[in-house]
């Protein structure tokens, strides 16, 4: 089945835009993976090198913005194309913020250094797992136009909020009983906050995907078989 535009050049412009968003998403996910690896391994050098990746993400955001605006100006897109492009324009600002938050995590890891003073249970990885999963699934939902998956992402935000809310009560007694862990604990809180916020941005993306899909699909259910005409 083929849903291409009659105007092949227009089609290729939209494809280029999609490719750039996918590439930006891949970079952002990579930053998060490396940020969490640098945290888990307490690797300052990995944290520093990951910070440098942010400029590629910023560059892609500019490129995507410009491409989308050009398509808007020159093609006057409508219907699903319009929803795709406006969603893309909004989505990249959230993606870019997620990248920034990944960088924030790396900066905290660099401050932490190689030492790991707390031997107690580390609450960060479980927040990171859910938050990273949300980013991944929000992007997948965008790619596939999958509102069900997007809604699942939105639901998981509560989980991250709950984990983050429990972070402070968990760390506070440790800080009170052992002043030597205060420095590390405040960094952990900051990393937790970054994860909580990047989950919020993933939620934003998921909400945009629901909008992008709903405009089209709700109305197409039960009508003609797509692609059978034209």
């Amino acid at each position: 089945m083929d849903r291409r535009h009659t105007d092949r050049e227009y089609e290729s412009e939209l494809e280029l835009l999609r490719d750039r968003v996918l590439l930006m998403g891949a970079h952002v996910e990579e930053v998060l993976v490396l940020a969490m690896r640098s945290y888990n391994e307490r690797s300052v050098s990995l944290a520093r090198s990951t910070i440098n990746m942010d400029s590629q993400i910023d560059q892609l955001e500019l490129e995507i913005d410009e491409l989308a605006i050009q398509i808007l100006a020159r093609r006057q897109p409508v219907a699903s194309d319009l929803r795709f492009i406006t969603t893309t324009l909004k989505l990249v600002t959230d993606l870019e913020r997620i990248g920034d938050l990944g960088v924030n995590i790396c900066e905290r890891v660099a401050e932490l250094g190689a030492d790991r003073s707390q031997s107690a249970h580390d609450p960060i990885p479980r927040i990171a797992d859910v938050a990273q999963g949300m980013v991944h699934d929000a992007l997948d939902a965008f790619v596939a136009g999958d509102a069900v998956k997007a809604n699942q992402v939105i639901d998981r935000d509560k989980e991250v909020d709950a984990y983050y809310a429990s972070l402070y009560p968990e760390l506070l007694p440790r800080m009170m009983s052992n002043p030597s862990v205060v420095f590390e604990s405040t960094r952990l809180l900051s990393i937790g906050k970054s994860l909580e916020r990047l989950a919020d941005h993933a939620t934003n993306i998921a909400e945009m995907v629901v909008f992008m899909v709903k405009g089209q699909d709700v109305r197409h259910s039960g009508t003609t078989n797509p692609g059978s005409h034209g």
Binding site: L22, A144, V218, R219, H229, G230
Partner: protein, 289 residues
């Protein structure tokens, strides 16, 4: 540690079988036009069929035309747009061998009823054509009055009719000093507005415009569109256009025709942001094979 090319493939993104997790509920609330279900019709076609000889070119069109609103008719060439609007003022039957069946209601009255005078219908439902067609031998002034005269009318104060109509189409200031000159000497945009003035002189209630801007440059087009915004306070307007953006700009409602059938009729903002029918989507986004 290099970033791989995206693991998600583009073919995924073109996936048509999208997964919509929610029930079908209308998401639009705060829009400027009423929903199509609340539309007050000035005209209405009911199961309208039109033929040229044996060829059926309209295959049962039921469409309300909103009162004092602009309705755009869009669709690929040959789908029956012109035939449809020509049925709305009984111009279709003027072509030898052409006929229509079904009902066309104007204020609830069937204009195809045997009691109804087609000349009277055409006064109430005026028409503006694609190519500006002022009468070549007539002055600007006489062009405005031509429709009235053809109908055997002699207004008491023709000059005031001329001024009123030229003002209504925003042409007065441009031509008031040259009213005696030939209408054909005007720019094509001015000629089209002159033709609209000529139609309006008959005081129609409905104005049919079949691609009124297709021969005009962007500035002249913008002026006609501006005029359409003005006219819709007093008239019910149906505009046929191949220019999707024009439909999006001027129309409150848009009807999409395909192969002689009405595929979709809805508020223009709905049609251009989230049409319900795949064929509408394909056509307006330029995916029509």
């Amino acid at each position: 540690m290099t970033v791989q090319s995206p693991s998600r493939t583009r073919s995924n993104m073109n996936n048509s079988s999208r997964n919509d997790g929610s029930s079908a509920e209308e998401t639009s609330k705060s829009r400027w036009d009423p929903p199509v279900s609340a539309l007050v019709p000035k005209m209405k076609t009911v199961d309208l069929h039109a033929y040229f000889g044996p060829a059926e070119v309209l295959k049962g069109i039921s469409l309300p035309i909103a009162d004092k609103q602009v309705t755009a008719v869009i669709g690929p060439s040959g789908c029956g747009k012109s035939t449809f609007v020509r049925c709305l003022n009984r111009m279709h039957e003027v072509v030898p061998g052409a006929r229509a069946a079904g009902r066309v209601l104007l204020d609830e009255q069937d204009i195809y009823h045997s009691d109804v005078d087609s000349v009277r219908v055409r006064r109430r439902v005026g028409m503006v054509f694609q190519k500006p067609n002022p009468f070549p031998t007539m002055s600007i002034r006489d062009n405005v009055l031509a429709g009235l005269r053809l109908n055997g009318e002699r207004p008491d104060d023709p000059d005031s009719v001329v001024e009123k109509m030229l003002r209504r189409v925003a042409l007065w200031d441009e031509v008031k000093d040259v009213l005696g000159r030939a209408g054909t000497g005007l720019s094509s945009g001015q000629q089209q507005r002159l033709c609209i003035a000529r139609s309006l002189a008959l005081e129609p209630e409905v104005l049919l415009m079949d691609e009124p801007c297709s021969a005009l440059d962007p500035i002249a087009t913008a002026r006609v569109e501006e005029l359409i915004h003005e006219l819709r306070r007093s008239y019910t307007i149906v505009i046929v256009t191949h220019n999707m953006q024009q439909a999006a700009r001027v129309a409150n409602f848009t009807a999409f025709f395909y192969l002689g059938t009405l595929i979709e009729h809805d508020r223009t903002d709905v049609i251009f942001t989230r049409p319900k029918e795949q064929r509408t989507e394909d056509y307006i986004t330029g995916r029509f094979g």
